[in-house]
Point group: C2
Chain length 343, copies 2
DNA sequence: TGTTAGCACTCGTCGTCATTGAGTGCTAAA
DNA sequence: TTTAGCACTCAATGACGACGAGTGCTAACA
């Protein structure tokens, strides 16, 4: 059976209707609301065909039909016209970045907030992924006689700093010497390239204070090895807006899903390449997500992918809005970060 | 009417029962489950009295009775025996602190996690409050020709650092001079004591680079004025465990409540003084909380209160468990922080 | 005088059953 | 090929009665 022009128009009508109402849609509804110039009986026949072809599903005999994941996929790939954001929405976003924000965490956090505000879905933002981050500067700053601060500055703003205990008898000069060595070793390397063996030499040189060097090694390796899966959320309770989550059990399992950072991390970080990725229902590799869709994109500094942003909602999602928001947001964020920290 | 011995014992039985079952409790239940040596009819009479006195309420005529906020208050103040934590629970907590953790945020975050694990309620932890934090060290660390890092080290670990743009023609020495001045001005002052006017002199001295000084002033004032209400949560979805929150509307409003950071901040930060504060239902100053109870305590470094920890749950809360967990946690956290950053 | 057994009464919950109405599939006519 | 018409399905809704947990009151009892 072929998916001819009329079938497509009917399918589109059904998807549009279901996305906005969340109710299974019947032939009469389509005939009345969308002027397709045919009667409900004809639509009924076509719907029967569409079901046979796998684009529609029927919750039960006497109900209308709902789009299948296959239908959404078709919709996203072929039917949907990505409408650009409203003026005020792009204004909002730009405004957010105009306020000088010095902490990258703050930027990330606001990004999540604004994404969920615009789309009304739950947004997820992965903070910059360690491996791709380049060390620009390492410095040991003395605090008092017992403590020093190991500051690691990266091309994505300051990333992490760690308080390290130091032996009492060490002075600022000594710390500076260590800083210099660390800088020589690691400057302009990414965390992925950090090789702790390089420190063996340092250890030898500072044999007298091997425990200090050990502490430093610990601190460094903490940063690049630690599954530092910082995830920021926006609009976590938006899910309650959707009738399909009026059930406490489902709402709860959705919210628990958000706590599965490992899983979200894998999901979002696999979204590679340029542009926006849409993953619909059962296309997701995880059981828990078979009734959710995820729209994601990556953000970068220059050409280097730093992290991902995404939104998650029911498969019945306003894809056109979601995709355009995601696209605009990823680009704006990348542009902003690049202008701040890029080479 | 007097609250005699027998009334008290009956009241206690009712509260205990209701806390564990969430069902209105009737006279027969009490007579059967708790051996008070009197018949259900007698208990019925007493319950009638207790209702008249304001300790009990009846959802409807043919239901059992539930404790009022007044009853819980009486329970917390007079009846409850605080049982100490189980060995394994205290072990868990100690274990958490034994793992060397360098970032105070991490400590706070884990504290929230473990509190919710132990109590099964939602935990809320206020990160250290700015006003009480003492500056130990300020340093401008050069990163590259355009950027420097303003590091403010406090007695609560490193608190904040900000990337500031600097004019191209400034060298490390120059930054050091500024750092020294800032240190002289603010070392050992709390953020609450920071007076930006002091910087006027600095501005004059560095008139050539007044824009840099402005940036620094901005950055500093950001830190102490910004309502930096960092709140960490644990067990946000625990609320779904309770039958009274099986209703989506209520669950949602609870979760939305958690996003009201201003409100939570006020609630928790008012809990001053030593020991554990319990705030029951309508005792809370906010409408939204009239069916919740909050158990909170403060944590400190030395004698200086830094922030608060709390748990929030239904008024039907296991107060004895909650109070003991809170007490132990606050003390342990304070002890740990003091040993790290104290004096 | 306090305690208790007994009983009528209240009222929310639960299961049953009939009604309703949205929607389908099929058939026959246009 | 399209459409009107019709029988059929089935979830949702609401009415109704049975049930039972719980109360308050009364009268008898220790």
């Amino acid at each position: 059976m072929r998916l001819d022009e009329r079938k497509i128009r009917i399918l589109q009508a059904i998807i549009d209707d279901f996305i906005s109402t969340a109710e299974p849609v019947g032939s009469r509804t389509i005939a009345k609301k969308y002027n397709l110039g045919v009667s409900s009986a004809t639509i009924r026949n076509e719907m029967s065909d569409l079901e046979e072809m796998g684009y529609l599903e029927q919750p039960h005999t006497s109900a209308g039909r709902i789009p299948s994941d296959k239908a959404y996929r078709f919709y996203v790939d072929r039917l949907m016209k990505v409408k650009s954001l409203k003026k005020e929405e792009t204004e909002n976003i730009k405004q957010m970045y105009r306020n000088k924000i010095s902490q990258i965490e703050q930027v990330i956090c606001n990004t999540a907030k604004i994404l969920s505000d615009i789309t009304n879905y739950t947004s997820i933002v992965l903070a910059p992924q360690m491996n791709s981050i380049v060390i620009k500067h390492i410095q040991l700053v003395p605090i008092d006689s017992r403590l020093a601060l190991l500051v690691i500055v990266t091309n994505a703003g300051i990333l992490k700093d760690t308080v390290v205990k130091i032996p009492e008898d060490i002075d600022a000069d000594y710390l500076n010497r260590i800083s210099n060595i660390l800088n020589k070793l690691y400057k302009n390397k990414s965390f992925g390239q950090v090789n702790l063996d390089d420190l063996a030499g340092v250890r030898k040189e500072f044999a007298r204070n091997s425990s200090l060097v050990d502490t430093l090694i610990d601190a460094l390796s903490d940063h690049y090895s630690k599954s530092d899966k910082d995830i920021y959320y926006g609009g976590t309770t938006n899910i309650f807006n959707f009738p399909e989550y009026q059930d406490v059990v489902r709402a709860r399992s959705f919210l628990n899903l958000l706590e599965e950072k490992e899983l979200l991390y894998k999901l979002l970080s696999k979204a590679e390449g340029d542009g926006v990725t849409v993953s619909i229902g059962t296309e997701n590799p995880y059981e828990e997500l078979r009734e959710c869709s995820i729209v994601s994109a990556t953000y970068k500094i220059g050409d280097r992918v730093l992290g991902s942003i995404g939104i998650i909602g029911p498969t019945r999602m306003e894809y056109s809005k979601a995709v355009s928001a995601m696209d605009y947001m990823a680009k704006t964020l990348s542009y902003y970060l690049t202008s701040l920290y890029g080479k």
